[in-house]
Symmetry: C2
Subunit: 251 residues, 2 copies
């Protein structure tokens, strides 16, 4: 079975302006891998309806799953739900279950028009529960629409993870050394040639003014990953004894 793929669409001017450092990408990538789904692309786009529609419609036929984060709150700049409805060519309308959730969470006085907007979904959507702040996300076919606040997004994802049909998990082993890539490139390439089923990545870093590299073997077959990793480690030991099995490139 081919590993199912995913695309993450991060919607929000605040990420593109550099104001907010995204924290959802790395978290979701690891969770998806746990579920046997491979994150193959991420797009960060602004709160512009035409861009959201075009991006969703470009991505949903191209990947097994599409996840969006951001833009489903009560304020005027929260336009994701309306854009998803337009992308699917269906009306945006109050979802009875979502209305019920908000009626339970808020008093009558609190549940104003802006908050009721959070109960609107594209026709045909199923809800994604939000145990943090009540207002739900939703799914339309293979598109999962989630909040942008990391703690809420994570709680929503926990409620849909079991729905994902995953393939084999990617396993990875990393070894690092204070050595420059140019020194090991040729030998590393030869190891890659011997393990076509393993992706060998080489990630240079600079730490305390020293150049180093982290070498990562990734693949779905444990024996192959272990074999490639051992060869990489032995190769490094041919250059230096200062080899660490921790991942020095991850800061």
């Amino acid at each position: 079975m081919q590993t199912p793929t995913a695309c993450l669409i991060i919607i929000g001017n605040e990420i593109l302006s550099g104001r907010t450092q995204d924290k959802n990408l790395a978290w979701l990538a690891r969770e998806l891998n746990e579920a046997g789904v491979r994150l193959m692309e991420v797009r960060v786009i602004p709160d512009i309806e035409a861009t959201i529609i075009a991006t969703i419609n470009a991505c949903r036929p191209a990947f097994t799953y599409v996840f969006t984060t951001g833009g489903i709150g009560p304020t005027h700049d929260d336009i994701t739900s309306a854009a998803v409805a337009r992308a699917f060519g269906v009306p945006l309308e109050p979802h009875p279950e979502a209305v019920a959730i908000l009626e339970k969470h808020y008093t009558k006085e609190q549940l104003n028009a802006a908050r009721l907007k959070m109960a609107e979904t594209p026709r045909g959507a199923s809800l994604i529960e939000n145990p943090v702040s009540a207002a739900p996300g939703f799914r339309m076919e293979n598109v999962y629409v989630m909040a942008g606040v990391p703690s809420i997004m994570q709680a929503m994802f926990a409620n849909i993870k079991h729905e994902l049909k995953g393939g084999a998990r990617m396993l990875s082993k990393t070894v690092s050394a204070y050595i420059t890539e140019g020194v090991i490139a040729e030998k590393l390439s030869a190891i890659q040639d011997r393990y076509p089923g393993v992706e060998i990545g080489s990630y240079p870093f600079i730490r305390q003014q020293r150049l180093g590299v982290s070498l990562v073997a990734r693949g779905t077959d444990e024996g192959d990953v272990q074999g490639a990793y051992q060869e990489i480690k032995n190769m490094l030991l041919g250059f230096t004894q200062e080899v660490e099995e921790t991942d020095l490139a991850v800061a």
Copy 2:
């Protein structure tokens, strides 16, 4: 003059796997804004040649400037330069100036085939100097190809920033309060309606178990931004005295 736009293409399996937290997006977004260029889209893609080619060719006619990070080192997984050459339909070949730079930086013994690969650029490229580790980036038309290591990317960008033809800078003012979005949404929307030239963003956050929101007024006209900001602040003060002019949502 319309504000020039930019797209950032982050190339690298290590970002998509969640192994490495990207640090280039937020940094570049702020630098571009300083230069009067607006980052409108970011794509994170894997080290797959066909994907790199398709992404570059989709983005270069759509934005004033395209920046790529990652994949220009000496190892087998560094395939960005070859993919850019194919995207432009030109051969990849040793760039004489780049060869000279590497010959000056490395001894004859050090300058092996893998390192010489870093001197190969698409025909017609102009170099982007790399004061950190010598091997240059390059520009092809409106596409700037840079290293993925943040300190190297930043040093490269410093050498090309003056080339960018920018428009007006986006100015922004932020005010935060421990209040939920639903309470202020309607009044905020009315302020937005009075300032069509200002983008008002509403960014909820959770800090020490308290829900809050940061409200950001962004625009190119200082008077408008200041006016919208003052109205937003006054509106918040109608609900709570605990209003902070710092940006609580930025962690």
